[in-house]
Symmetry: C2
Subunit: 151 residues, 2 copies
């Protein structure tokens, strides 16, 4: 069982945007520098977030990204879902639909319980929660234009 780098990068990006957007649109280039993740890879990932209406990008000079909703209204579950899907096992599809072996499968009940437990935690955790946690730890930057912190 594992969550991918892609998913974790997506979360770090979302928290980064949440932390910085009040000072203006947030550029991939800056996120890349702060998070020390390849700009190209971040571009690819944020495309998915854009298409799923979690962030909004504006082009041109002074362009950049902002969240489409308040950070307190975006759950971790949403992000994980669009990047890799939340499913403990192949037996359980995105919409909770269970595979055709379910009537002869002894383990399906357990997989479902695990799936629900993970989903619950992720649905209850918002980007704002992660940001608060970061602030509590004192790891959010203050500075302009390109601070040297890491989320």
């Amino acid at each position: 069982m594992n969550f991918s780098n892609k998913t974790r990068y997506a979360l770090r990006m979302m928290v980064d945007i949440a932390a910085n957007q009040e000072r203006g649109k947030v550029k991939i280039k800056d996120i890349s520098a702060r998070q020390d993740i390849s700009q190209k890879y971040l571009e690819q990932i944020i495309t998915i977030l854009t298409k799923n209406d979690l962030v909004k990008g504006e082009r041109g000079p002074q362009g950049g990204y902002t969240l489409t909703r308040p950070a307190s209204e975006i759950s971790v579950a949403e992000i994980v879902n669009v990047i890799e899907g939340i499913s403990a096992v192949p037996c359980i599809k995105e919409n909770g639909v269970v595979c055709e072996r379910k009537d002869v499968c002894t383990t399906i009940g357990m997989w479902q319980r695990i799936n629900e437990a993970v989903n619950k935690i992720m649905s209850e955790t918002t980007i704002q929660d992660l940001l608060d946690e970061a602030n509590a730890k004192g790891i959010i930057f203050i500075g302009d234009p390109m601070p040297e912190y890491i989320i």
Copy 2:
């Protein structure tokens, strides 16, 4: 996030052995037929289980496998751990040790909570539980020598 086929096959094997061992040592060939999984692949998987002292194999005619402990004393967590390890993210290693970014990571707390939730369910579920669930569903075979059921 996902658990591999290998892990699920290992669990199905363990339940199969638990279900059949009272009638004698359980052969890979028969598990393969009942579960419809390649015999060669099962051999490879059960090697891991044997080395981790979860099952015991005896060779020769009338040979086969048995569980080393009662099914009620073998947790799902043990099996998952030896096959692929239980860890939600690369940040958390087998023994609960956390990665070096932990002091600047906003998500580590959440990953740990998820990890613990999954671990709890798997530690509390035993092979006997899965077998009971199968019996309740009426999917455990009665018959000899090669019934046509699937666990």
